[in-house]
Amino acid sequence: MLRDVATFLERLLGFDPATFDYSWVTAVVVIGAASLLAFVFIALFAGPVTWWERRIAGRIQCRIGPNRVGPQGVLQWLADGIKCFLKEDLVPAAADQGLFRFAPYLVFGGYMATFAVLPFGANLVAADLDVGLLYLLAITGLVVIGILMAGWASNSKWALFGGIRSAAQLVSYEIPSAFSLMSVVLAAGTMSMQGIIGQQGAWPWEWFVFKNPFLFAAFFLSLTASVAEGNRTPFDLPEGESELVAGYHVEYSGMRFLWFMFAEWGNLWVIATIATVCFLGGWQVPGVTPAEIAASTGLAFWGWQALSFAVFVAKASVLVAFVIQLRWTLPRLRVDQLMITCWKYLVPGALLNLAGVLVLLAVVPDQGVADWAIRGATLFLGLALASVFVWKARAGYLADRDLYRRMEGKELWYPPYRLP
């Protein structure tokens, strides 16, 4: 240690701009810029998606949703953010001051850290770690600790209940989540996010979700577990309004409250991204292989980056919309039901599913005739499911259409793109 200090002092005193090694300065600047970009992305995603969610919720509940601030209310999130900025930052007198102030940053930092490995496009990834998927599962530990810290430091029984529930839920649901993602690792043979995407193709029949029926099930298992880990309805017990007021962030106000909300909606993106990367082929653009993108130069290179980013965002947005709709469809589970769902259904189900994936991967050779037959059958299964869904939704609409016209004298048809 003394030697290190001596070297450091020597270098400091004999500072020579010509021979100084600037590489680490560059590295620090690049890391800083990447973090800032990720932060800006979270802000620009989490903000508008709150508005989007409220619009969807409004339509589902026969309302309109926020449409006053800016055109159709798209700036509602800015108004909410400014309101939170201007609010008083209250710290309860009996709270543990230091931990109370620190907890929101830990929660937000946990979600921020996931962005290190999340890919946005062909080359748009901060760090393509070899253990990317495992890192994603591990880093959520920070969030658990942050939520427990917030719950305990508030010195309020509601907050503590919320914190404990959240921690129990996150620790439990990490297991089915890991099992179902592990089947993807088996199929891809790597834990690197870009590697997993590279093992899939751009067309739906090349995606892992339609590779075989077990991976198809793993997609929904993983999505369910992710939604539970993200504390979203129907698994939002940690902040169940009816029992716990607001759960672990009940004592927070102003900007600190906003950090929790940031993390919650930023996590929506994380859920959608993991599912997109692992099951929906990531950023792959139809008609071009990753190798061709990597080989391109200049304007073409950046064009492919932009295109792959657009493809990725489109897939993730569909999933975000799905998760939002799920929230406004299903009622909240009870605590015991939550644990039963995890330990009696998801864990054994995911384990059986993993075994099924293993057997199929071992028995069916990749790209063979049997493989393509299974892929085709799974794709057909998915399409059949989607058709049943559309048929049921249409039947529900048609059942009320004529009655509405008779009673109100107006057409019931009012699609989401017709903005009131």
């Binding site: 240690m1 290190d4 070297t7 450091f8 270098r11 090694d21 590489s23 680490w24 590295a27 543990d96 931990l99 770690l129 070899d130 253990v131 495992l134 890192y135 599962l137 591990a138 880093i139 959520t140 530990g141 920070l142 658990v144 600790i145 427990l148 810290m149 305990w152 010195n155 503590l160 404990i164 921690a167 129990a168 996150l170 620790v171 990490e174 834990m191």
Partner: protein, 170 residues
């Protein structure tokens, strides 16, 4: 990023994070603070693993110790009855702290006196595949024995938690 001074600086920052966390674990009078500081320590250790380019080990450390063990310790602390006075819940902290400081000083002196080999530059390369091969190759027996031990512990915990009915039968 080959500058040795920067390397050393990163190491000392991580080490300081770990040691300060460990210090709080031993010296804090508030047992919940100790539990949170334990989390910081384990996190610092994960950082040290990453610094030594043991990527899989660092992530597993995070997954198991930071995400699992820390949370379980916090659970145990929070669910323990009789911890109403949260400001002073660790009455033996002076004794524990004293022993910890004594041990730290002894260990420090020992390290300072001995010639520890340092400065072996390791190549930054993924270790996952190699560890996987080793665990399912030459070390498959120890690996499986450890899992049997863990299974036995799990079964024991379940048995004790379920309790025994009167008359010896469960």
């Amino acid at each position: 990023m080959t500058d040795p001074v920067v390397h050393a600086a990163v190491f000392y920052v991580l080490a300081a994070f770990t040691v300060v966390g460990a210090g709080i674990v031993a010296l804090s009078g508030n047992i919940v603070h100790s539990a949170f500081a334990l989390f910081a320590t384990l996190f610092g250790v994960a950082g040290l693993y990453a610094y030594l380019s043991a990527d899989l080990l660092a992530v597993v450390q995070m997954l198991v110790y930071v995400g699992g063990i820390s949370v379980l310790v916090l659970f145990a602390v929070m669910l323990t009855s009789g911890l109403s006075d949260t400001g002073h819940t660790n009455p033996a902290f002076r004794l524990a702290g004293g022993i910890a400081v004594l041990l730290a000083v002894t260990a420090g002196a020992f390290v300072a006196a001995s010639a520890v080999p340092t400065g072996v530059e390791s190549a930054v390369a993924p270790t996952t595949g190699a560890i996987g091969d080793a665990l399912l190759g030459p070390f498959v027996l120890p690996f499986e024995v450890v899992s049997v031990v863990l299974l036995a512990a799990l079964l024991g915990a379940v048995t004790m938690a379920r309790g025994w009915k009167k008359g010896g039968a469960r």
